[in-house]
């Protein structure tokens, strides 16, 4: 059994590789088909002699044929190396940036994710239990509205209300610049707890509230919907009526129903996480959150091939990892799953 799990994990992990390859290839192809390159972005309107241009292209490895570049980068990836940046500045390992930026995105997504799940579970369960009533209808409307909120717009309104008008929450950044925090994991909340730095904890939590609320509420819509629908379905099943026929208490039945309804939701959670990362881009831009989203947008401006490829590949890995974890949770929770 346990050996089975280990093997399963390994094999399941290997399945991430094709995903990464597909995305790398797509991004590589798209980026090279059209004019422009990172060296030009760096050189910009500066008066640089042609030989030096050539020299820079050579350093960046952009003078090689495309297929060589393709496989070169792949080869680097195989060694766990994401390459170096090609613009502003040149030559910094992309992984340095990832190390710096990823925890920010992770922290934001974890909080948003938690918020969305909690809201989704509560509203969805209430809707399902009160099926057909006005409460149900309003939960469903909530779900649709939340889902279709446009993040920058919603974020802006929250910023205005809490940042400018009520003046109670910071509207940008991760932590107040006056607070010193020794970072260990890069997750500020966690770090400040580990180092028992309470001002930092207060500051980082305050900074987190608005962005994660924005993203969390927007994403909760999907959960509300699916939790409600699954709950309705489960509540209709025979075993729920069987529980009732046995005289099991109502709250227990709701709990069992929720457990059953949760199983299909787990699958959604994996996919939702990808959407979450997408939403993080807009959230990060709105709240000046120094994460991966803002990083990739900055890098795109310079067409920093390696940085973009690296980020995409990293995201692909990450998404793959999440879906692996989701699968494992699924397998753990659902006794019917065989692996």
């Amino acid at each position: 059994m346990s050996r089975g799990i280990v093997q399963y994990i390994i094999l399941r992990a290997l399945m991430i590789i094709p995903t990464v390859l597909v995305l790398y290839t797509i991004v590589f192809l798209f980026m090279r088909v059209l004019p422009g390159n990172p060296i030009l972005a760096v050189v910009g309107t500066k008066n640089i002699p042609p030989e030096q241009m050539k020299h820079l292209m050579h350093i960046a490895g952009l003078d090689k044929p495309l297929y060589v570049q393709y496989f070169d980068y792949l080869w680097q990836l195989l060694h766990g190396n994401f390459g170096v940046t090609l613009a502003f500045p040149m030559g910094v390992p992309v992984s340095d940036y990832l190390k710096l930026r990823f925890p920010a995105t992770l922290e934001l997504t974890i909080w948003s994710f938690t918020i969305s799940i909690i809201i989704g579970l509560i509203t969805g369960t209430i809707g399902a239990i009160k099926k057909g009533t006005i409460v149900d209808t309003s939960m469903r409307l909530y779900s649709i509205i939340a889902y279709t909120l446009f993040i920058p717009w919603f974020g802006m309104i929250l910023q205005y209300i809490f940042g400018v008008w009520l003046h109670v929450l910071p509207t940008s950044g991760r932590i107040s610049p006056n607070v010193n925090l020794h970072t260990i994991t890069g997750l500020y909340v966690l770090d400040s707890i580990i180092t028992e730095n309470w001002p930092a904890l207060v500051s980082s939590v305050k900074h987190l509230i608005l962005p994660s609320l924005t993203l969390g509420i927007v994403l909760s819509g999907a959960y509300t919907r699916i939790v409600r629908n699954n709950m309705v379905e489960v509540l209709n099943q025979d075993f729920i009526r069987a529980y009732k026929a046995r005289g099991v208490k109502d709250w227990k039945i709701t709990w069992y129903a929720l457990k059953n309804a949760f199983i299909p939701i787990i699958t959604l959670m994996g996919l939702q996480f990808a959407i979450l990362l997408g939403g993080a881009i807009l959230t990060e831009t709105t709240f000046n959150w120094p994460g991966m989203g803002t990083f990739i947008i900055d890098r795109i401006e310079y067409r920093d091939y390696n940085a973009i490829q690296g980020t995409v590949v990293f995201f692909a890995f990450f998404v793959g990892l999440i879906s692996l974890i989701v699968d494992l949770i699924y397998a753990l929770l659902d006794p019917r799953v065989k692996y």
């Binding site: 089975g4 093997q7 399963y8 094999l11 399941r12 065989k338 692996y339």
Partner: protein, 322 residues
């Protein structure tokens, strides 16, 4: 004169296994049909009974090559249909048809009743006008009147019994020589079953049809079939005239099956107890497949597989003990 001959037919399904086994190239099979031979005469209704999962459906589909059998021969009118190519197979389908168990999923919900019945004709080259005429006639024959009105309806506007009539009409409109009816009445309401059986019987008589009639209800088998085979775990364990079989079952499994059937005509006196439930067809027991459940099983049953032998004229049994 035998219309259909099935010889040593085997149909295995690869089992969906976890990715680990898949990578180890461990292959597992459900031996749904595992070496079955029988033949059906012209104008005969051949019954197939057995518990759920014993392979009845698989067998009946394999005979029509709707599933590709793993091994064996199906000889129809002297031709081994398993050797035909796609186009030849398509042509021969005209003379062999099937009626399914579930009247709800066997009709395309997006087609009108008329189109459903007309489509086989059109596929086999009839023009639309002529086809419509034929379909209207057919609707009358299966009792869906007024025909014009039913022609325009969609399946969801029909009751289960009516749908099954449509399915019968679709099968019969091509004038087949051989029809497979896979539990054709088991999902129909009790009070309607009789009429569907009557309808099938009528067609059989009119066209001298041969039929393979699959059911798990022995009472129904008695009603319509001439000969019957009892299946257990992918194998035929007993085959005989239906009445002989019911009145004088020889195989312990047949006996249990017949005894378990509820009846009004007499109070049950004894039971042949068969313990437990059908084992899975991936790893069937060695020897006789019933050996682990059979109250009469002896040593030999656990080792050797019994052959189907003719114990009386036309009465075949596969059991070491008889």
């Amino acid at each position: 004169m035998e219309l259909v001959q099935v010889r040593n037919l085997k149909t295995y399904f690869p089992v969906r296994i976890g990715i680990i086994d898949a990578l180890k190239r461990k292959k597992l099979f459900v031996r749904a049909v595992d070496g079955v031979s029988f033949s059906i005469k012209r104008g005969e209704v051949f019954g197939l009974i057995g518990e759920s999962g014993c392979g009845k459906t698989t067998l009946s589909r394999s005979v029509l090559r709707l599933i590709e059998p793993t091994e064996g021969e199906v000889i129809f009118n002297g031709i081994n249909i398993l050797k035909l190519n796609d186009e030849e197979m398509r042509k021969i389908r005209k003379s062999m048809q099937i009626i399914f168990q579930d009247p709800y999923s066997s009709l395309n919900p997006k087609m009108k009743i008329g189109e459903i019945i007309a489509h086989p004709l059109i596929i086999h080259g009839m023009d639309k006008k002529e086809a419509k005429e034929q379909v209207l006639q057919m609707l009358g024959k299966v009792g869906l009147t007024p025909e014009k009105e039913f022609y325009e309806r969609y399946p969801h506007q029909l009751s289960g019994g009516q749908r099954q009539r449509v399915a019968i009409a679709r099968a019969m409109v091509l004038n087949p020589e051989f029809v497979v009816a896979d539990e054709a009445v088991s999902m129909i309401d009790v009070s309607m079953r009789a009429s569907i059986i009557e309808l099938l019987e009528e067609f059989r008589r009119m066209y001298n049809l041969s039929m393979l009639f699959v059911t798990h209800d022995i009472a129904i088998a008695r009603l319509i079939t001439n000969r019957t085979a009892v299946m257990y775990l992918g194998k035929i364990v007993e085959l005989s005239e239906t009445k002989t079989l019911i009145d004088n079952p020889l195989h312990p499994y047949s006996r249990a099956l017949i005894n378990a059937a509820p009846t009004i005509s007499r109070k049950k006196d004894f039971k042949v107890k068969i313990k437990g439930e059908v084992p899975n067809a991936i790893n069937p027991p060695e020897g006789c497949r019933l050996s682990n459940r059979c109250p009469f099983a002896s040593e030999i049953c656990k080792k050797e597989e019994p052959e189907l032998v003719e114990v009386e004229k036309g009465h075949f049994v596969a059991c070491h003990m008889t």
